[in-house]
C-alpha cells in the first residue's frame, strides 16, 4: 500500500473515532447527559398542599391548617442576593446579618430556592410580594401549617407533626418520602400519615446559566391530604379532659355496642403547636420531662388492674361452675395461704359473688381464685381481651401482661405457688392492663357478651371505614354468668356499702367496679371501670389515675364526667 492509501485509512479512522465518540455520548451516556442538561436549566419551586384535617365524629374540626408565608430567595448573583436580603430585612425588621446567616445555613445548591424567613405575617407577605417586582429573586411562598384550635385537646390521639427523622426516612423512602418532609409522630398523625399527607406540587421553570428566570415550563397543582374523621366526640373529649384537669392518668370512653372510642384523654399532655413553631426549648422540655407527657397512657402504658380484675375472676368461676349465686365465703379480714397471711382491706363477713363484687372483698376472690386455678384465670383474662393487643389503630400500643404458671417458669425461672394465684385473683402481682383494655373488658358485660375491637378512625377521605372494622368478638359466656356479674357491678354503685356508691345519686344508672392498685413505691393507682346507662348501656368508661390514691378518687372523676355529660344533654 502506498503512502496515499495509508493516509486514506488514517482519514477513515479519524471519522470512525468521531462516530464512536458520538455513539458513546449520545447513545450510551445519553440519558445521563440528558439529566445533567435538565438539572442545568430546570428549577422547581415547590408548592405545598395542606395536610388533611382531623375531624371529630360530628365533623367538627380538631386539627386543621392555616396558611403561613415563607420568604425564599433564588440564589443568583451575590450582589443581587445581598440587595434582596437588605430589602427583606427592612420589611421584616430583622437585621441583615441574621438573615445572611440563615441564608448561609439553609443554602443547599444554586439550583434550589433558599428559605430565609418563615411564618411571617400576611401584611408583610403582601409587602414582600410587591417588593418582588423590584427584586425578582424573592419568592413569597404560602405554606399551610398545622393549626390546633383547641391546643392540647386530644393531643395523644392526634400526635404531632415534625420533620422526618432518619429512622422513619429509611423505612418510608420507598413510599416517596423525602428528607425534610413533615410527617406525623404518634397518634393519628403517624398512623394515617400516608392519607393525611399532602402531595407537593410546584412550578417548574427554566433558567439560564446565571439562574435567571426565562420561562415557565409547567405547573403541577399541589394536592391536599385526605381528611380523617375520628369516632371521638369533641364534647365528651372536652368533658373528660376537664375532669382529669391536671391529674396524671387517663380516661377512655367507648361505645360498648361497637367499640368506637368516644373520648381518650390523658394527662400530662402536650401542645402539638410547639412542634409547628419549632420552639426548641419547649420541645426539649417535652422529651426530658420525667412525667413523659408524650406517652399516650391509655394505650401505651399498662398498670396492675387490682380489683377491676375481680370481674374476670368472677365471670370465669361462674362460667366454669366453680361457684354459683349461692356460694358464699366468710371474710374475717385475713386468711392463710401456705405459710403467708393474705388479708382483705376490711372485714366483710359472709359474702356471695354479688356482694363480694360490690364490696370488693379480697377473701372471696382469693378463695374463688384458688378454686379456679391460675391457668383458668389466665385463659379467661385473655378471653376478655386482656394480656394481648387490642389491635387498636394508634401506634405504640402495649399488650399488657397476664401471668400464668408457664410464663413464670419461662421468665422468672420459678414455680407457681398458690400465693401467686391469690395475688392474681385480685389483679396484683405481675398482672398489667392498659386503660383501653380495661374499658374493652367491661364492655363485654355492657353489650351482652361481645368483646369489641376498639377503633378511633371513622372515615378517611370521606370513605366510611366502620363497616370494614373488625366485628365484635363473641366471648361465649352463658346468659346467667353475664347477668350475675352485671348485677354485681350494679351493686358496686347502688349498694349502700358499695365501693362506687358516689355514683348512685346520678340520674343515669351506672354499673362498674373500682380498683386500688398497690405499687412498690408511691401512692396507689386508682381505677374505675363501668358502663351506663345500666339497662341499655351506651357508654363504657375507664378512669385511671396514676398514683391517684384509692379507687374512690377515680370514681369521683367518673361522676364528674357523667354529670357533665348529663348536663350537656349528651346522654
Amino acid at each position: 500500500m502506498g503512502r496515499k492509501g495509508v493516509l486514506k485509512i488514517v482519514i477513515i479512522l479519524m471519522f470512525a473515532v468521531l462516530f464512536i465518540g458520538l455513539a458513546n455520548l449520545d447513545l450510551l451516556q445519553g440519558s445521563r447527559f440528558r439529566r445533567l442538561s435538565d438539572s442545568n436549566c430546570i428549577r422547581l419551586i415547590p408548592q405545598e398542599g395542606s395536610r388533611g384535617n382531623i375531624l371529630d365524629r360530628n365533623g367538627q374540626l380538631i386539627v386543621g391548617s392555616r396558611i403561613s408565608y415563607d420568604v425564599m430567595i433564588l440564589p443568583q448573583e451575590p450582589e443581587q442576593i445581598d440587595r434582596a436580603l437588605e430589602g427583606i430585612s427592612r420589611i421584616l425588621n430583622i437585621s441583615p446579618g441574621e438573615l445572611k446567616s440563615v441564608f448561609r445555613k439553609n443554602y443547599f445548591s444554586s439550583s434550589l430556592p433558599v428559605t430565609v424567613a418563615s411564618n411571617i405575617e400576611l401584611k408583610k407577605a403582601i409587602l414582600l410580594g410587591e417588593y418582588k417586582l423590584e427584586e425578582p429573586a424573592i419568592i413569597v411562598q404560602s405554606n399551610p401549617l398545622r393549626d390546633y384550635p383547641y391546643g392540647t385537646l386530644a393531643s395523644h390521639v392526634i400526635g404531632y407533626v415534625n420533620e422526618i427523622d432518619r429512622w422513619r426516612l429509611t423505612k418510608l423512602e420507598d413510599y416517596g418520602y423525602k428528607t425534610k418532609d413533615i410527617v406525623g409522630f404518634g397518634g393519628v398523625e403517624e398512623k394515617y400519615d400516608y392519607y393525611l399527607r399532602q402531595e407537593e406540587g410546584g412550578l417548574s421553570v427554566e433558567v439560564n446559566h446565571r439562574g435567571k428566570f426565562t420561562r415557565v415550563l409547567g405547573f403541577e397543582p399541589p394536592r391536599n391530604g385526605r381528611d380523617v374523621q375520628l369516632t371521638v366526640d369533641l364534647r365528651i373529649q372536652k368533658i373528660a379532659e376537664e375532669a382529669l384537669s391536671g391529674r396524671k392518668g387517663s380516661i377512655v370512653i367507648i361505645d360498648p355496642q361497637n367499640g368506637e372510642v368516644l373520648a381518650m384523654a390523658n394527662y400530662p399532655n402536650f401542645n402539638p403547636a410547639v412542634f409547628v413553631n419549632k420552639r426548641t426549648r419547649l420541645i426539649a422540655g417535652l422529651f426530658n420531662n420525667p412525667a413523659s407527657p408524650l406517652i399516650n397512657r391509655a394505650v401505651s402504658s399498662s398498670y396492675p388492674p387490682a380489683s377491676i380484675f375481680k370481674i374476670v375472676v368472677a365471670s370465669a368461676a361462674l362460667e366454669l361452675r366453680k361457684i354459683n349465686l349461692a356460694t358464699s365465703f366468710l371474710c374475717r379480714g385475713s386468711m392463710m395461704i401456705g405459710s403467708r397471711k393474705f388479708s382483705c382491706w376490711d372485714v366483710h363477713g359472709m359474702q356471695d359473688v354479688i356482694s363480694a363484687l360490690a364490696h370488693s372483698c379480697d377473701i372471696f376472690f382469693y378463695r374463688t381464685g384458688l378454686l379456679l386455678g391460675a391457668q383458668n384465670i389466665h385463659d379467661y383474662a385473655l378471653k376478655l381481651g386482656l394480656g394481648k393487643s387490642t389491635s387498636f389503630e394508634l401506634p405504640y400500643e402495649t399488650s399488657g401482661l397476664i401471668p400464668s404458671p408457664l410464663w413464670k417458669k419461662i421468665n422468672r425461672f420459678q414455680n407457681w405457688f398458690d400465693g401467686d394465684t391469690a395475688n392474681l385473683s385480685i389483679g396484683q402481682g405481675d398482672c398489667l392492663v392498659t386503660p383501653l383494655q380495661a374499658v374493652d373488658m367491661v364492655s363485654v358485660f355492657a353489650n351482652g357478651g361481645y368483646l369489641p375491637s376498639p377503633y378511633i378512625i371513622k372515615s378517611v377521605g370521606g370513605v366510611d371505614l366502620s363497616a370494614k372494622k373488625k366485628r365484635m368478638l363473641r366471648v361465649g359466656f352463658r346468659r346467667e354468668t353475664l347477668e350475675i356479674v352485671r348485677r354485681g357491678l350494679r351493686a358496686v354503685v347502688s349498694g349502700s356499702r358499695g365501693t362506687g356508691s358516689v355514683l348512685s345519686g346520678l340520674k343515669v344508672p351506672v354499673a362498674g367496679k373500682t380498683g386500688t392498685a398497690q405499687v412498690s413505691r408511691g401512692s396507689t393507682h386508682a381505677w374505675f371501670v363501668g358502663f351506663f346507662p345500666y339497662d341499655k348501656p351506651k357508654y363504657a368508661i375507664c378512669v385511671f389515675l396514676e398514683h391517684g390514691g384509692p379507687g374512690h378518687a377515680a370514681t369521683v372523676i367518673a361522676r364528674q364526667v357523667i354529670e357533665a355529660m348529663i348536663k350537656q344533654g349528651i346522654i
Binding site: L18, G21, D26, G30, D38
Partner: protein, 366 residues
C-alpha cells in the same frame, strides 16, 4: 468534470445552511446585535459562494506563478497582526477592516499549502522527474520547514495554538505524500516531539491549563473545564433524535460558551441528536473523499499535492474541532469549517473548495 463541482457545491451549501440554522438557534434568545448574527453568516456564505465560483473559474496553475506573492501577503498580514498585538498589548488574531474582522491565520493555512504544493512539485530541468525524490535532508525537510515555521510561529504568538499546530500537521502529512524519504520525516518528527517538555515552558498559562484540563476536565469544572463539560452535556443530552431545532437548552440558555463559533457542533448535535450528527459527519466525509478522488485522478503533481493539501486541511480541522467538542481533543481555538460563525474561515474554505473543483476541471484540459 461537472459532477465533482456539483457534489462539492451542494454538500458545502447544505453544511453552511445547517450552520446558519444552528447559529440562529443559539443566538435568537439573546438581545441586541446577537440577533443579527445569522444574517451576517448568511452574507458570508453568499460571499463565499462568489469566491467559490471565482476560484473555480480561475486556472489553478496561476497559483503556481503567484505562489510567492500569496505567501508574501500572508506573511505580511501575520506580521501586521503581530505588530498590532505588541502595540495593543494583548491577544490579537484579526485585523479590523471596514466592517469585518479579517483573520490572517485562516488565509495563511491556504497560502502555506499552495506554497508547499509548489515546492514539492518542482521538476528537474533534465528529465522532467520530480525533484523531491532527490532532496536531501536540507532541501527536503529543513528548508520547507523554515517556510512553514515562520507563519506558524507568528500564529502561535497571536496566540492561536490550534491554527499553528494545524499548519504543522498539514506540513507533516504533505511531506509524507511527497517523495521525500521516510527516514527524514521520522527524524523530523523525532526532533519536533523530543523537545516538547522544553516547549511546555513557552506555552502560555491558559494554554497549559487547557492541556491539563483536556486530560481531566473535572479539575476545574467552573474554569477551563467548564466548556468541555457543558459541550459534552450538550452533545450527550441530544440523544438519538435530538431536542429539536430551537429547543437546545444548553446552547440557548448560555450554558455552552462559544456556542456559535468553536462549539457549533455541540449546538447542532444537541438539537439534531445522534442521527443528525452522523449525517453531518457523513457530508464532511463525502466532501473530503471527493477531494481525495480529485487528487488521485489529477496527473499534474502540483494540482495533486494541492488537492491533497486542501482535503487534509479540511479533514484535520473537522476532526480536531469535533473531537474537541466531544472532549476527545484539547480545547484549541479552531473553527468547524463551513459551520462556525466567522467570515475568514468561511471565505477561505469556499476558496479552497473552489480551487479543488478547478483542479478537477482543468485536468481534462491537459
Amino acid at each position: 468534470m461537472r459532477s465533482s463541482f456539483f457534489r462539492i457545491l451542494v454538500l458545502a451549501l447544505i453544511i453552511a445552511g445547517l450552520g446558519i440554522l444552528s447559529i440562529y438557534s443559539s443566538t435568537y434568545q439573546k438581545e441586541g446585535v446577537w440577533q443579527d448574527i445569522y444574517k451576517r453568516q448568511a452574507l458570508w456564505v453568499f460571499l463565499g459562494l462568489v469566491c467559490f465560483f471565482a476560484a473555480a473559474r480561475l486556472n489553478y496553475r496561476r497559483l503556481w506563478d503567484a505562489n510567492y506573492l500569496i505567501y508574501g501577503i500572508a506573511l505580511f498580514f501575520l506580521f501586521l497582526v503581530f505588530a498590532l498585538g505588541i502595540i495593543r498589548l494583548g491577544a490579537q488574531r484579526w485585523l479590523r477592516f471596514a466592517w469585518f474582522n479579517f483573520q490572517p491565520s485562516e488565509f495563511a493555512k491556504l497560502a502555506v499549502i499552495i506554497f508547499l504544493a509548489r515546492y514539492f512539485s518542482k521538476k528537474s530541468v533534465d528529465d522532467i522527474s520530480l525533484l523531491s525524490g532527490k532532496f536531501g535532508i536540507f532541501r527536503g525537510i529543513i528548508l520547507p520547514f523554515i517556510f512553514v515555521a515562520v507563519p506558524m510561529f507568528l500564529i502561535i504568538e497571536q496566540p492561536d495554538l490550534g491554527s499553528g499546530l494545524m499548519l504543522l500537521l498539514v506540513f507533516v502529512s504533505l511531506l509524507y505524500l511527497t517523495n521525500v524519504r521516510l527516514k527524514y520525516i521520522i527524524i523530523m518528527i523525532a526532533i519536533l516531539v523530543l523537545p516538547l517538555p522544553f516547549f511546555w515552558h513557552f506555552l502560555r498559562d491558559y494554554q497549559k491549563q487547557r492541556l491539563l484540563v483536556f486530560l481531566n476536565p473535572n479539575i476545574d469544572p467552573l474554569g477551563a473545564g467548564y466548556t468541555v463539560i457543558q459541550s459534552r452535556i450538550a452533545i450527550g443530552s441530544g440523544g438519538l433524535f435530538g431536542k429539536g431545532w430551537l429547543s437546545g437548552t444548553q446552547s440557548q440558555l448560555y450554558f455552552l460558551p462559544e456556542s456559535h463559533t468553536d462549539f457549533i457542533f455541540a449546538t447542532f448535535s444537541e438539537q439534531w441528536g445522534f442521527l443528525g450528527s452522523i449525517l453531518l459527519l457523513l457530508m464532511y466525509y463525502l466532501i473530503i473523499r471527493q477531494g481525495f478522488i480529485i487528487a488521485q485522478r489529477t496527473q499534474d503533481s502540483f494540482g495533486r499535492l494541492l488537492a491533497y493539501g486542501i482535503s487534509l486541511l479540511l479533514a484535520l480541522q473537522v476532526f480536531i474541532n469535533i473531537a474537541m467538542n466531544m472532549g476527545l481533543a484539547p480545547v484549541v481555538g479552531l473553527p468547524l469549517p463551513l459551520m462556525s460563525y466567522g467570515g475568514s474561515s468561511m471565505l477561505v474554505t469556499f476558496i479552497a473548495l473552489g480551487i479543488l473543483v478547478n483542479i478537477d476541471r482543468t485536468r481534462s484540459v491537459f
